[in-house]
């Protein structure tokens, strides 16, 4: 279980996260929504270890991991798919997947895990020798998810998986994320596409100007007047 407690963080003198607290229970899919610049990506980067927090705690399975380096967080079964997918475009699809199983925890099982990923994404199997950067956006996002799965994460963080994808592909991508959720992996999902996010998440948090302003289950959020006005355009 992931607990984020009273996190303050920023870039130099610019503070972007103010006293942010939230949690993701085991096997739960949680959406983090909010407008551009609200601090969603920064929060994910704090959990991923790429942004230092000035105060607060990130507790993962009972231990504060705020001081743990991003490299070691891979061995704690936390997988972070950053905004823009984070695939290694100059490497082949297979190399990307092999690196998904780079950390010690899964190295021995990685070929098995790659086979499982190929079962889920047969297209990647066809393209395993291709340079990852030459694939379409949807295929790259599939690769990003597949690579994360090779890592056998307990927590998967996705930063706007629908960004830059065609609407048809977005639906497909959310089906995949739902399948990952159903396999028991906890998911923390950032998404601007609120209906899509709430369709697969059980709960959600709304962030504005670096603060959590609202939280609730997917029905409560979908019915909330402020949310409707701000994010659904109704």
């Amino acid at each position: 279980m992931l607990e984020i407690k009273n996190i303050n963080a920023g870039y130099g003198d610019l503070q972007v996260l103010f006293d942010v607290s939230m949690e993701v229970k085991d096997g739960e899919c949680v959406a983090l929504v909010g407008s551009n610049g609200a601090g969603k990506t920064s929060l994910l980067n704090v959990v991923g270890g790429h942004l230092k927090a000035s105060a607060g705690q990130v507790i993962w399975n009972g231990e504060d991991i705020l001081k743990t380096s991003p490299t070691k967080r891979a061995d704690l079964a936390i997988s972070h798919i950053p905004q823009g997918r984070g695939i290694l475009g100059t490497l082949s699809v297979m190399d990307n997947l092999l690196l998904g199983g780079y950390c010690r925890r899964v190295k021995k099982k990685r070929m098995e895990n790659i086979e499982k990923a190929f079962d889920m994404f047969p297209k990647l199997k066809e393209r395993q020798k291709q340079v990852a950067g030459s694939m379409s956006g949807g295929e790259q996002q599939m690769l990003a998810i597949a690579r994360a799965l090779v890592m056998e994460p307990d927590l998967l963080m996705l930063d706007e998986p629908s960004l830059g994808l065609a609407p048809v592909v977005v639906d497909e991508m959310f089906d995949y994320i739902a399948a990952v959720r159903d396999s028991g992996v906890s998911i923390l999902l950032i998404e601007q596409n609120l209906p899509a996010a709430l369709s697969i998440a059980q709960r959600g948090y709304v962030m504005e100007n670096g603060r959590i302003v609202l939280e609730g289950n997917n029905h409560e959020l979908a019915e909330n007047e402020d949310v409707k006005r701000a994010y659904l355009g109704i």
């Binding site: 061995d75 092999l98 690196l99 925890r105």
Partner: protein, 293 residues
């Protein structure tokens, strides 16, 4: 002398010299590729390779080529230590810090070498030194051919390592995106230390291969340092194949200038070529330029 012979001999001279340039360039490319910084002390690491060879040669009397394993080992350790002392404290700082630090390091290395070995020219003795292979009137020094052979061997080795091993893949991942590499569990600082040490070891290997051809003196590496920078810019930064190709091209241009234009102008030829290349292909001959998406 007929023109055909001159062309043929220039090609041979150019390719063998180019092979040596390529090897220094590949070392610099490995460092630049992973760390995105230019090592301004690359020429001095080459000289260190020469001096290690010189000392071991004087002590044991063995041929420099047999001294390759101990030289590689010592050079790697030196690269590792100098990384820890000079480079590691600067990680995360802007690139110019690194330029100044490695430039300073190059002066320190030259000064220490002058103190220990004086500014005298030393020669590494080997029986192969004056052997030349002649064929149909063309002639080529054996040490140059050997140097070229080792260049090909080491480039193939590095290519295999980068493409086929986990460590190599991790290095390429670090090169492309440090944050993503860290998220995958790759210790990027370890990759930096390793690539710096390997890159400088390549310079030291070049120094060893040059020692039967050139005299050994503290500033012997300076021309190779600048030509290596020409090579990585011309080849497209971070591109190992490009570094090899532009190393060979630089060698050829230099040899042809020496034969057909003027011996004095030869050292300037590669720089002239760089200006021409950059005017038409700003990303380098084999560079892809900025990646789109």
């Amino acid at each position: 002398m007929n023109v055909l012979w001159m062309i043929g001999q220039s090609i041979l001279n150019g390719l063998t010299m180019g092979g040596i340039y390529a090897l220094v360039g590949v070392g610099l490319t490995i460092i630049f590729g992973v760390m995105k910084v230019v090592n301004f002390a690359q020429g001095e690491y080459l000289v260190i390779g020469m001096y290690i060879t010189l000392v071991l040669n004087q002590l044991t009397g063995l041929s420099p080529y047999l001294l390759l394993p101990p030289t590689i080992l010592i050079a790697y350790l030196f690269g590792r230590i100098s990384y820890g002392v000079v480079v590691k404290p600067l990680l995360g700082q802007p690139g110019q810090y690194f330029v100044v630090a490695t430039m300073g390091l190059s002066f320190v290395i030259i000064s220490v070498l002058q103190l220990v070995f004086t500014t005298n020219f030393w020669a590494v003795e080997t029986s192969l030194k004056s052997v030349s292979i002649t064929w149909k009137g063309f002639s080529l020094g054996l040490p140059r051919i050997i140097a070229c052979g080792f260049m090909i061997f080491f480039v193939v080795l590095v290519d295999f390592f980068l493409k086929r091993t986990d460590f190599g893949r991790a290095m390429r991942a670090t090169s492309e995106n440090t944050e993503v590499a860290q998220s995958l569990g790759i210790n990027t600082n370890k990759m930096y230390g390793f690539s710096f040490a390997v890159g400088t070891t390549f310079a030291a290997i070049t120094g060893l291969l040059l020692s039967p051809i050139y005299f050994v003196y503290p500033t012997a590496g300076t021309p190779f340092k600048t030509i290596a920078m020409v090579i990585i810019v011309m080849g497209g930064p971070g591109n190992i194949g490009g570094a090899v190709a532009s190393g060979l091209i630089a060698g050829l241009v230099e040899a042809f200038t020496a034969t057909f234009v003027s011996n004095d102008l030869a050292p300037a030829a590669a720089y002239l070529l760089l200006i021409i290349v950059l005017a038409f292909k700003p990303a380098g001959l084999f560079g892809k330029g900025a990646r789109v998406a």
